[in-house]
């Protein structure tokens, strides 16, 4: 039997069933893909903020470097500080210029004087932040303390919520897809019962009889997932400026979406496609295998 022409013939002979199977797989992988990307992005965002200094201490304009050194010494003496970094007014200006290099209007009026010096502090364990906070607030020359923990906790809550919703929705869609594939393949097996009987009588092996159905199920998955990938990738390309404006500070996202003709984007899109196609083929093949197990026990 020429396997693929034979499978193609099966599909053409029942186009509505084939369309339903492909459409179901498409919806599963469209939503599954969107949730996967959202989930991965939220993890990247979380890691980005977790990797940032956990406390940023801004000093008043009158404060001097000695105030920062004194606070640094006090914090280090606790033994609970992993690292500190002093950012002078000049350093702050350099950072500001780098962040806004594409917008000259924002650079014109800003000088080092109006930017505050700061001390960025990371604790050895985020649990120590509560103990360090009073020391920071009581220190000489401190104007404001930005506490990163709140941001991280909020992000963590959102990330977990996205993950839970994503896993539940993807799980339901996977079950739905399996049921649809099982039904479609089951109907095809029923339609081809006579042919299957003849094949068995003339000595076809169990795999020879089963393989076309398994591959057919897998191909429904592959077709659905491929269309879903085109839509998701198209959406990302279309929204690239918006995503970069919102999440451009995250290195991985900036690297991938920085250039839509660059290698990182092609590798990421290609990897995403390969992963989706593999998952989709497996999902379709598993659905078919279950259907075969039910309808072709002997």
């Amino acid at each position: 039997m020429k396997l693929f022409p034979s499978i193609w013939k099966h599909m053409r002979r029942s186009p509505y069933q084939a369309s339903v199977a492909v459409l179901t797989m498409f919806i599963t992988f469209l939503l599954g893909g969107v949730f996967l990307i959202t989930s991965v992005s939220s993890v990247l965002i979380l890691e980005f903020f977790e990797g940032k200094p956990q406390i940023t201490v801004f000093f008043t304009d009158k404060a001097v470097k000695a105030d920062a050194d004194s606070l640094d010494k006090t914090l280090r003496a606790t033994g609970k500080v992993a690292s500190t970094a002093y950012v002078s007014k000049e350093d702050a200006l350099a950072i500001y210029r780098e962040q806004n290099k594409n917008d000259p209007l924002l650079l014109e009026m800003v000088t080092a004087d109006i930017l505050p010096a700061s001390l960025e502090v990371s604790a050895t364990n985020p649990l120590y932040l509560k103990e360090l906070e009073p020391l920071v607030r009581q220190a000489q020359g401190v104007e404001e303390v930005v506490y990163q923990k709140d941001v991280v906790e909020t992000l963590l809550t959102w990330t977990n919520a996205i993950r839970v919703v994503g896993v539940i929705v993807a799980g339901l869609l996977i079950v739905n897809s399996l049921l649809i594939i099982m039904t479609v393949i089951g109907m095809k097996i029923a339609l081809k019962r006579e042919e299957i009987e003849i094949l068995a009588l003339v000595g076809a092996s169990r795999w020879y009889i089963r393989m076309p159905f398994i591959i057919e199920g897998g191909l429904y998955g592959v077709m659905g997932a491929f269309v879903a990938w085109i839509m998701i990738t198209g959406l990302i390309i279309w929204m690239q400026p918006v995503i970069l404006g919102f999440l451009g500070m995250i290195p991985v996202i900036s690297l991938i979406l920085g250039s839509l003709t660059g290698t990182p984007f092609f590798l990421a899109a290609g990897g995403f496609l390969a992963g989706m196609l593999l998952m989709a083929f497996l999902l379709g093949a598993i659905g078919s295998t279950i259907a075969i197990g039910r309808y072709l026990k002997n």
Partner: protein, 235 residues
């Protein structure tokens, strides 16, 4: 080559075969005769492991069928070609494709398939009809296609379950001629039939079944109707 040792088959408690013991040697041509329900088809189905005996042992070559694993049933069926009364052809495939099926399942190359199918179609006289679909064939041609498919893989045994049942007398004789030719090249043939003329004209070994039991087993037997569907073989 084929041996039945005290084989019985019950369907829902009713015996289809009772304590049947018989042996068939390589290259033999055997008619199985008997009234409907005598157990002819049951015996043939047991040989291809389509059903399993309730008791007793069946040997085909080196296989003992009651211990044959499910995964090896297809290997047994490749050694035993089967011809059916209702032809069992795939209606969406041409004569060539139906016959080629027997070689495709064992993974032969396209070239091998083309050559072998051509040879077999020549043997059964259908070379000029290889591109026709079953619906375009006469009953005798369909049966010849069925025979071609059964022998294309070179089986050592050919089972024919009332292959002439749907054919007119002349066509039935043509089919028997083909089976005789196949037998001459060494293939064992077991043919279940109700056709009196064929059994009497061909004078081959004839096993008579009645109510699931072998009532007669004669070399060069004859079909003798006994009324009410009963039959026996006579020398």
């Amino acid at each position: 080559m084929i041996r039945f040792d005290k084989v019985s088959k019950l369907y829902s408690g009713h015996p289809a075969l009772s304590d049947v013991s018989v042996g068939i040697d390589k290259g033999e041509f055997v008619f199985l005769i008997g009234p409907s329900g005598a157990g002819k088809t049951t015996l043939l189905r047991l040989l291809i492991h389509d059903i399993v005996p309730t008791s007793g042992v069946i040997h085909v070559d080196n296989w003992q069928l009651d211990t044959l694993p499910k995964k090896q049933i297809h290997l047994l069926r490749r050694k035993i070609g089967t011809v059916f009364q209702d032809f069992k052809l795939l209606s969406d495939r041409t004569v060539f494709e139906n016959v080629a099926l027997g070689l495709e399942i064992i993974g032969k190359t396209e070239r091998e398939i083309t050559t072998r199918v051509h040879d077999v179609l020549e043997l059964v006289g259908l070379a000029d009809k290889k591109n026709l679909f079953p619906v375009q064939l006469a009953a005798g041609e369909m049966q010849r296609t069925g025979i071609a498919r059964a022998i294309v893989g070179g089986p050592s045994v050919l089972l024919a379950d009332e292959p002439t049942g749907n054919l007119d007398p002349d066509t039935a004789l043509e089919v028997l001629d083909i089976l005789s030719e196949i037998n001459k090249i060494g293939t064992t043939i077991i043919m279940a039939t109700h056709n009196v003329t064929i059994v009497n004209d061909f004078k081959k070994r004839t096993i008579v079944l009645n109510e699931g039991k072998i009532v007669s087993d004669e070399e060069k037997g004859r079909y003798h109707t006994m009324g009410k569907g009963k039959a026996k073989a006579k020398k």
